[in-house]
Symmetry: C2
Subunit: 344 residues, 2 copies
């Protein structure tokens, strides 16, 4: 089953505007079916009572795919938002060791001593979360604008102290995302000791939230077993395999829930997908620039500029699994996306 | 005007359970009036259309205080939650310089070079936010359990790039809080570079959210001009003045909104209230321990243990302004507060 949230054309209240409309997706036919409000008002609420709601969503899904659903909408008639346009808990891990080693080198810093025993994780912007084709507004090109292609999972309520063996059952949906990064703001922030803040503005999400069972063989060992494709300004950039994730999602959940319960609707990210095999390319510019520095003494690839486009997707059997992220970087102020009120 | 959120006795849906019930507070009479759902379903939603909702809330407030409100409830009949039981954006500054200097000394670290030009800030747990008398569940006493008494402001939508001169109008409510800290988990986290995570579990809030105008002369220069009182296990602990905040809230808003818009419902914290004058005591144990170390070579005050109680409040004209925080530390597992679902 694939779910998405689309913008309401004429919301009659701020509550409805903030929620958007939850839909079930048939990406073979290119149609969606709206989920009736008496089943659930939105995806965030649904995750708080998933056991009750999921079977109802699957019934709607079955009707849609059988062509039995009375009222469907074509993709062209939908403006896809992020599957969760906001959440109270966006936690980003960094579970690809190769990425940590390379970006630390790029910052002139050593990887932490416990690199292979304790995952790195921070809490980032949960509101707004940008949709798949939303512009990325940035104030200055001097910030070192970068993308990071990641996978993420969406959780129901996870009690504090949950262990990996009990963690996987809390993974309800899988997402594909772009963790936008402002590289030149990060070194000062990490030096000051409080971690990422300015360097990690709002992230963007592919349109479909996919249940693990719908991934079939591509969901195994608590990891997404697919290549992460990215294309910068129409040119192929990288296709590393997301199965090389060092810590699994259940291990990341254990880390996240050590001293806090995780609320339903938590989005937990993998960190930038990165492989030891450099021939497959990277999922962010910082890594490519570091590899160039190691090889040639200095980077030749520049960070993103206003007008640059990034496309990110994963394929299975020749088909885009989560739908595509396809975004343009724009100068902040030249866009309506700089307040959360103006966006959705 | 003072607002609060109380637990619904028998919510008929998960949506209503998550929202709680918004009430207007008359803390002279010890009564509350429920805000009708057609005005706003909850405080978080209200903050997204504050210009429309605030006058309606003030009408309810006027009726309550005039004794004209038909149905009121006594405090004894209410279970107060945090004014916002969850938010998509909890940002904590550290705007009291003395606190930064002392806790860094305690960790054997130097204060950042730009201590007086760039505020320190991190994004923390926005869900759950604990109520004023909720237990504080912690897994182990070895974590170095500490409290931090802070003030915080609640914002409406703040555009990216907002400057201090435009920031104060976005401050809609003022809160009092306890930023629970696990001191012995923090040094490893800061060394790893990603900032606080395990060391900052869910925070707790005093019951009333207070409009700046209701603070009168105690709201000036973008700061709360009151003493921060704390009492540990019934013994006076500290009463530093919150007006000594080095960066004002408008300056903290500018910092927070540099690369992101701040969503309505953002809670922005001051950091632990701390004064240069050591005779007024502290607002956390870490500072007291550092002062003991400077004086005697080692700390004599211990961190909190299971069963310890912390009370935090601010007074104006002899009256508790935000209501009291009065909490007990308990061993996690021995309480119902370890999942967000179980709490509200």
């Amino acid at each position: 089953m694939k779910l998405a949230t689309i913008r309401l054309d004429a919301p009659d209240s701020v509550t409805r505007r903030l929620r958007g409309r939850l839909v079930v997706v048939d990406d073979d036919q290119g149609t969606v079916a709206e989920v009736p409000e008496d089943i659930t008002p939105d995806l965030w609420t649904a995750l708080h009572e998933w056991d009750r709601v999921e079977p109802e969503l699957r019934k709607t899904d079955a009707r849609l795919k059988a062509g039995d659903h009375k009222k469907t909408r074509a993709f062209d008639d939908c403006r896809f938002l992020a599957p969760l346009p906001r959440t109270t808990s966006w936690l980003d891990g960094s579970a690809f060791i190769q990425h940590i080693i390379l970006v630390r080198k790029a910052r002139g810093a050593e990887p932490p001593e416990d690199l292979r025993t304790v995952p790195l994780m921070y809490q980032g912007v949960g509101d707004p979360l940008l949709g798949p084709t939303d512009d990325i507004p940035v104030t200055s090109e001097d910030y070192g604008i970068d993308f990071e292609a990641e996978v993420a999972v969406v959780l129901d309520d996870v009690p504090m102290g949950t262990k990996p063996a009990d963690a996987e059952k809390h993974i309800k949906l899988v997402l594909l995302m772009n963790d936008v990064s402002l590289r030149k703001l990060i070194p000062r922030e990490l030096k000051a000791g409080f971690g990422f803040f300015h360097g990690k503005p709002p992230s963007s999400f592919a349109p479909y939230a996919v249940t693990p069972d719908a991934l079939g063989s591509a969901w195994k060992d608590g990891r997404v077993q697919l290549e992460m494709n990215s294309e910068l300004n129409g040119e192929p950039f990288g296709h590393p395999h997301a199965g090389e994730m060092y810590f699994s999602f259940p291990q990341l959940i254990e880390h996240a829930a050590k001293t806090r319960p995780l609320p339903a609707g938590t989005i937990l990210g993998s960190g930038t997908v990165s492989n030891e095999d450099e021939s497959v390319g990277s999922s962010c510019l910082a890594e490519k620039r570091m590899l160039e520095t190691i090889k040639d003494g200095k980077p030749t690839t520049e960070f993103m500029r206003f007008g640059d486009r990034i496309r990110i997707w994963m394929e299975k059997d020749g088909k885009s699994v989560f739908g595509d992220i396809d975004q343009k970087v724009v100068q902040a102020g030249a866009t309506a996306t700089v307040t959360t009120a103006g966006r959705a």
